[in-house]
Symmetry: D2
């Protein structure tokens, strides 16, 4: 099954960049498009799944009753090289930047020794009705800065 | 990553039914719908990925230049119980029936000791332009009957 | 946008079969797979969207608070002919059979004068916790029998 | 069906921004996620479908035999407001910037008088094997500059 890697396991594979979460998987037929390569949109799914797991592991509950929750504000992606059926890969994630009410999750898709795709998502903490921003809680800030090496600005 | 299980490994897990291929994975956020459970359509993706891998492992090449290739003629699915985020599961597959030009792949999703969803797909071997059916090659028939226990009718 | 057709409009197009809902749309790039035709799974999405709209138009509320709601029990699909990019099509739906607690929605994809794909879904009415079946309400039975021509058995 | 709007029709709706292609559609159940709103990834599908149609209408052939073709290099997206089931919307596109071998397609999702999501994609023209960049052909440059108002830099 999808294998979850922590910071130590990622480093043990010789993957640089201070990544704190890795999801190891293999390209499946349903990831491909008419070009026989992984469709551009699929990487967003990989990033989404990594991000949700990352946040759940931080203890963030995505219930509609939650008083604060993160929402995606923007996202960027860069395609460096294509990927093909049956290739094994690791989707890597870490928090790279941290503001008062927002933070940035960075991603990379690592495959056979090279980075194929990179991206990032900016999330904003909001109240239950998503009408106002809220400060990132102190315990999360601590982890993001200490473990992930997130830069505060 | 998605872990591929062969017949011996599947039996070693105590899973009955003579399955010859298993794909172990975990439910991801992108599998869920508004009901917070795995969407009905997602199981078709799991079946498709198992079927493509099964056929590739039989040596079937899905090139447009191939003189014969299998196409999906029909499919059935039965939902016995819902599945939820982060549940670990195995998508199981085997060829259960074999005709002169067609064969049936059966599937089951096994999770935490119970079968949640079952299904099957009828495939027909066709020529390169998909205009005429073709006999299932003898070497494939042999494997389907001997290893998978496919019934001929 | 996706155009919704009622029974009269469908018949006016010369489409036989007593269909009571039609969704007219066009094949998009994201519907295609490595064969450059519409992927097998996509038809399930078209059926799902037609079914949800059909049920909403019957006044069924899909809230988790609803005392009764329909859940999908099983589904079948048959592929008669492939579809390609930019083809215009209509996804057709009607209730064809009606039991005490269940009913069957039939579908067909009509394109350029021929039916490309057909299918059906069996739904069961259940209580809020989906632990027990419930009778199909009388007002819905009336519509399914009178308008859709659903057979009771 | 999905309705294609040209520059004049878009302007006639009072939509500003010089958009040259619009795809009018309605949110479907399959676009939603566990939050009951349109999933973040779905907008990428809408953008992809608009981009592919835009390029096809420019006469770009996406055959593997093509001597030059555009590939996606990077993409950005900003989420301004959520979208919900059954909302009618228009996905808007135009080429906003033009380099020697690359160009930028801008997008916006317009719904009920407001822009919900914006984005852009940078595409690079490459040779058949996608190993070298190629100049954007003069006839395409002409259209991008004159009709779309693309800025050259």
């Amino acid at each position: 099954m999808t294998k979850v890697l922590d910071k130590a396991k990622i480093e043990a594979l010789g993957i640089e960049g201070g990544w704190t979460l890795g999801l190891a998987d293999v390209v499946k037929y349903s990831d491909l498009d008419t070009y026989n390569h992984v469709n551009n949109k699929i990487y967003h799914t990989w990033f989404e799944n990594a991000r949700v797991l990352y946040l759940e592991m931080l203890g963030i509950v995505f219930s509609q009753a939650s008083e604060i929750k993160p929402v995606v504000r923007s996202a960027n992606i860069t395609y460096d090289a294509p990927m093909y059926n049956a290739e094994e890969y690791i989707t890597l994630a870490r928090v790279s930047r941290l503001g008062r009410t927002s933070f940035v999750v960075e991603y990379a898709v690592w495959c056979d020794g090279t980075v194929r795709v990179t991206g990032d998502t900016t999330l904003v903490m909001v109240n239950q009705t998503a009408t106002e921003s809220r400060p990132v809680p102190d315990d999360l800030r601590e982890i993001m800065i200490t473990r992930d090496g997130a830069k505060t600005s």
